[in-house]
Symmetry: C2
């Protein structure tokens, strides 16, 4: 067994894109597992775009790797020493806090045993437990199974379709009976998405005809969008979204390397807070009227509900009242008494 732990440490926070100059490789003493801890020998390290959030204040992340810290990383490793009987030596685990190092000592509750009947020789390769059958794959799966509320026949569009999450999402969407359309960059990726991953179509966001290409690939509009990019890609997707459509924001890579937030209320906070934002137009809820009217009759009738009315007489008062509700100069529900006997 090794006597030193190789670690990749953060040297400085980047402006813009990170590169080798922002990290340094060091050797540290081997970690020793404490009570209820395990010692992991890292075999595979996943590299994901969201790591950028940890390298200085951005618009999504809130936990940081500071200069001098071991760089964060999701790893798959082998248990080489265990002080917790639930995590036996020799088993493989995935951990979010393995970090970019060869060894790591962790609490058993910070690792997840990967099922030996699914991963290993003659089964799925171990590396897929960090990719298509791991957290990136689960991201695609939960977008479709939990967030998107899909129906067969709907059109699903995913950006970064050549990436692990996007490619998995499109293939899962087709299993669910959706039409899958990808957005990718290079011709190599676009071809792979259609011919290998079997999407119904894929368009390049780098094409000068991107907007027309996407519209042509989605003749009935977009019912579900899984968004990884933001910026111009999201701006091109938005006008094609259908009524009652859903967007699952999984990433906004367009802004990960910006030092200044893009203008406008940032959709990034929707990811950061795992929010749900819905647009309400009341016209589709008229079926609720009977129950609602009865509730109001009871509450207002028993003097338990306050309301004010701002009443003006005659149609000729309507333009001024409209201006008032737009500036907030009214007080209470703005009404025009059209008939003098009303």
């Amino acid at each position: 067994m090794a006597t030193l732990n190789q670690q990749l440490k953060v040297k400085a926070w980047p402006q813009g894109l990170p590169g080798p100059e922002h990290f340094e490789l060091v050797e540290a003493p081997m970690p020793t597992p404490g009570d209820a801890q395990v010692l992991i020998r890292n075999l595979w390290l996943s590299i994901d775009p969201y790591y950028r959030h940890s390298l200085g204040p951005r618009f999504v992340g809130t936990t940081f790797c500071r200069p001098g810290d071991v760089m964060m990383g999701v790893t798959l490793g082998e248990v080489v020493e265990s002080r917790d009987p639930a995590i036996p030596v020799g088993r493989h685990v995935v951990t979010l806090v393995g970090g970019m190092q060869t060894y790591t000592a962790l609490s058993a509750r910070d690792v997840r045993l990967i099922p030996a009947d699914i991963f290993g020789p003659g089964k799925l390769p171990l590396s897929t437990a960090l990719g298509v059958a791991g957290i990136p794959g689960l991201t695609a799966y939960s977008a479709l199974m939990v967030h998107a509320k899909t129906s067969p026949g709907e059109t699903f569009v995913v950006s970064s379709a050549g990436g692990c999450v996007g490619a998995t999402a499109g293939q899962l969407a087709r299993i669910l009976g959706l039409r899958a359309v990808g957005i990718a960059g290079s011709k190599e990726k676009v071809d792979w998405v259609v011919h290998k991953a079997g999407f119904d179509a894929c368009v390049s966001y780098k094409s000068p005809t991107f907007a027309a290409d996407l519209a042509a690939a989605c003749p009935n509009g977009i019912d579900v969008n899984m968004e990884h990019v933001g910026g111009e890609v999201l701006a091109t997707v938005l006008p094609l979204m259908t009524l009652n459509s859903r967007i699952v924001i999984s990433g906004l890579i367009d802004q990960y390397n910006r030092d200044v937030a893009p203008p406008g209320p940032n959709w990034g906070i929707i990811v950061q807070r795992q929010m749900t934002v819905s647009g309400l137009r009341v016209f589709k809820h008229f079926d609720l009227f009977p129950h609602f009217e009865r509730l109001m009759a009871e509450k207002i009738g028993s003097q338990n509900f306050a309301y004010e009315e701002d009443i003006k007489d005659g149609l000729e008062s309507a333009p001024m009242s409209l201006a008032n509700v737009l500036t907030g100069a009214n007080f209470g529900k703005s009404l025009i008494r059209v008939a003098a006997d009303a």
Copy 2:
């Protein structure tokens, strides 16, 4: 009965705020109901901010009242002539297409009979069928009952809290066991919201200490926001939103009178398309792993699922791989083989 129909017509589309100069009052012949139509004598006209969308291309509406058209308006009227037995003479109806006029002839399917056991003398005033117990009230009700998925004890914040929708929403939120906090403009409205409508708190967006006031009124953050304003109000709300919080966008009055859309991907389209946008972080879906892994084992095992891996060797390759996933230069899931024997 009158022999002429008074109508308020659009004279010109406004830039910015509409005013009396954009409309003209005219007299037209009385309309005559056709087959399956009813003749309505309009008693009350509702004035609502969203009417602005019909006065020229904006960022939400898509149907317009052009110069020369009768201005749109939601009305409550009395049936004075009926060629449909389901809508008897003498009953009261609400219609979205009554328009700003004293009489209107409409298909029976375009009017809604308001329940005679709820509205009328000794019951709720007729005018409330256009306000607190009408479409604005139902907007508040459906935001809370359908969109917001509230739980007792949560904090609910509504802007335009002195308006009919906002005031109704806050009072309904309290009935559901939520803490209700309003945002309003004038001191008069703020006082009314707290002392008459019984909100737990209300703050003024016109105060120089608005952001601090709102934070102080929401010591546990904001779990549900019903948004009517957008702009600086939404920007002040956003940082206070809690994990798994919900925003119901009912209006974005801040942009109704702008001639140029605010920068950034416009949240207005969320309303226009009645979309649901959700932020996904996979970490809360780890309970799905067992089912997902089994699905992947089956699909990949039977060669029915495509995936690619972009593998580099050694921790020292990680910075370049991170840069590559941020620019899209990778192809397939980016992994570092940390251990040579992995």
